[in-house]
């Protein structure tokens, strides 16, 4: 039987389908019997969903152009770096 703390640790892996079979069943069994963990699990999923929804900052055009210039230099002068 997994402890509450162990369940909380693997909740995200469980949701992503990354837990091996036996661990998956251990999590499900624990959740079936533990009200507190069911709620905690749901709430952590909510937090994970809000984290996944975070906006992404794109690179500054100048910085991207500078890097592309480096990339071209490397390609056009093999062995230069």
């Amino acid at each position: 039987m997994m402890t509450c703390a162990q369940v909380a640790d693997v909740v995200r892996d469980h949701e992503l389908g990354r837990l091996p079979g036996r661990a998956r069943w251990s999590v499900r069994l624990h959740l079936l019997m533990c009200d507190g963990c069911r709620r905690y699990w749901r709430q952590l999923r909510a937090v994970a969903g809000l984290l996944q929804a975070q906006p992404e900052a794109p690179p500054e055009p100048d910085a991207e152009a500078a890097l592309l210039a480096r990339f071209r230099a490397r390609r056009d002068e093999p062995g230069a770096s």
């Binding site: 640790d9 909510a46 984290l51 975070q54 906006p55 794109p58 690179p59 991207e64 890097l67």
Partner: protein
């Protein structure tokens, strides 16, 4: 038993090189620009866990890509490309932090304020992940809450939950043990859950 639960499968099988790396070696500009864009947000968030100033964060990202271009021919594909780029970024950011005394490396995590791990959660008015994720105000709140986490927790939660990386990739990129990764992740998530709970209880609009 527990250690076995946390093992995850590497993104690219050992011994084979990511097709992206092959394209980069061949000088494929679109592949390079695509990689710079795809990894930018991750690199920026990661650098900000080590450096205070935006200027140094930008410098660290540039340095990291230059390091990537230098090392491209030697990259053996033991880790995924993204993991490798992030590990270079972490090294460059630490070097910059050590060099400039005015922009010292951020202090190590103080875990004193961390929520008790076994605190019993109270019910929220709405606990549906799908519905909560649609509320822009809550997305912004959790984004700001993430910024308030201690740096190492922030780095781990960002890579695991914002970017959906596997545990072993995070350990590799940050140079931390599996045990540390697990503790930092747990504390960071618990802290964010508690902050969101307090926010929701405070009668947010």
């Amino acid at each position: 038993m527990y250690a076995a639960l946390c093992l995850s499968v590497p993104a690219v099988p050992a011994g084979s090189v990511d097709p992206l790396v092959t394209r980069l070696r061949a000088g494929d500009e679109a592949a390079f620009t695509g990689a710079v864009r795809a990894l930018h947000d991750t690199l920026r968030r990661l650098a900000r866990t080590i450096l205070r100033s935006d200027a140094l964060v930008d410098e660290a990202i540039q340095d990291a890509w230059i390091g990537v271009l230098r090392g491209l021919d030697r990259f053996e594909g033991r880790s995924s490309f993204g993991t490798w780029v992030c590990s270079i970024l972490v090294n460059r950011a630490r070097t910059l932090a050590a060099r400039d005394r005015h922009h010292e490396e951020l202090p190590d995590d103080d875990l004193a304020g961390a929520e008790a791990l076994d605190a019993r959660p109270v019910a929220w008015a709405d606990e549906s992940p799908a519905r909560l994720a649609e509320r822009a105000e809550l997305v912004a709140f959790v984004g700001a809450a993430l910024e308030q986490l201690p740096p190492r927790q922030r780095a781990v939660v960002m890579l695991r939950d914002v970017k959906a990386w596997d545990a072993d990739e995070v350990c590799e990129a940050l140079g931390i043990s599996e045990g540390n990764q697990r503790v930092l992740l747990h504390r960071g998530r618990a802290q964010l859950r508690a902050m969101l709970e307090a926010h929701l209880a405070g009668g947010a609009p």
